[in-house]
Amino acid sequence: MSHHLFLLSPNDTPLYSLTHQSSKPTTAPSYPLSSNLPSWSTTTFAGTLSALSGAAGLNQAPAGGGAPRIGSGQGRNVVQMIAYASLDVIEELMRTNPAMYLKGVDKFNEWTVSAFITLGNMKFVLLHDGKNDDGVKAFFTDVWDLYVKTMLNPFHSAHTAIKSAVFDGRVRASARRHL
């Protein structure tokens, strides 16, 4: 089960992104597209990827439990596209729904997009598969807390990319805990 987190400023500038492979077991959804593909590509991510970009010529060599190489250019773009495509929906919901945590904002094949809107109109977008509402909410709250602390650093300018290694480490630790 993999998760992709994106932090976006109110002007939709991407400030931070993270990919996390969860070690928690998840029910593998079956989807028709995968029946013709070799077994290594039937992880949820690879399945979507193949469906979108054509299975031929793709060389997603998995390691371990079928974890795709997230660093590859095509994988990244697809994930980002899915996440940012949900921004319209998120913005609409923002205006009507006063709650901070918006779960299940958008669905794409087996991916769900959840969002968390901070009080300063920062958008935290999480792309994930499987249902894990409590964990996701706890994770978002943690990320919010870490984000506020980063903003308090005088050396960080608002709405610029967050490059701090400390922030990155802590977000990863929180992801391991909650997701």
Binding site: K149, L152, N153, P154, F155, H156, S164, V166
Partner: protein, 208 residues
Amino acid sequence: MSSAKQYKNVGEDLWKTRTDKINGELFAMTYGALVVQLIQDYEDYTEVNKQLEKMGYNIGTRLIEDFLARSALGRCGDFREVGEVVAKVGFKSFLNITPSVSHAGPPPPTPLPGGGIPPGPSLIPGSYFTLTFDENPLAEFVELPDDALEGGLWYSNVLCGVLRGSLEMIQMQVEATFVSDVLRGDENTEIRVKLVKYLEEEVPLGDD
């Protein structure tokens, strides 16, 4: 001579009763904005360190009057006592922190010609005390960027200036420098205050 415990009580009493307080986050953010602005203006971290120290010096020269008026402490017997008072009363009443103090002095000199007894270790210029801070209210939430780390920025250098300025007003010339800083990745934050010399009272010109 007041004992260490008495100093601690004086410091706590001053903090609780005779000090106006402001929000710690506001204080830390104001100082942070100041440091960042200095970095943008000077673009050289050594220069920024110097400026922070100069600002601290100006603060210290004024602060000592306020401190002496409120604490009503008398003259310290030796430099060791100065260190104790600074740590337990001074820092406590202004920042509500109590750094721990450790004293050291230069090795005793060879016996003076004529058999005179050398002065005690805390009166010799060159003796120093080290303040170890386990928390620093100026540096809450601060993370230094890489070029600040390479450039050698001492983030809280204003404290060194305050120490130098205030002690100079009571006839001690000292050098206060940072030894280590947690913001830089060291284990703890330490300031070393070294006595350079005692200043003689100077007769103003034109008096005789």
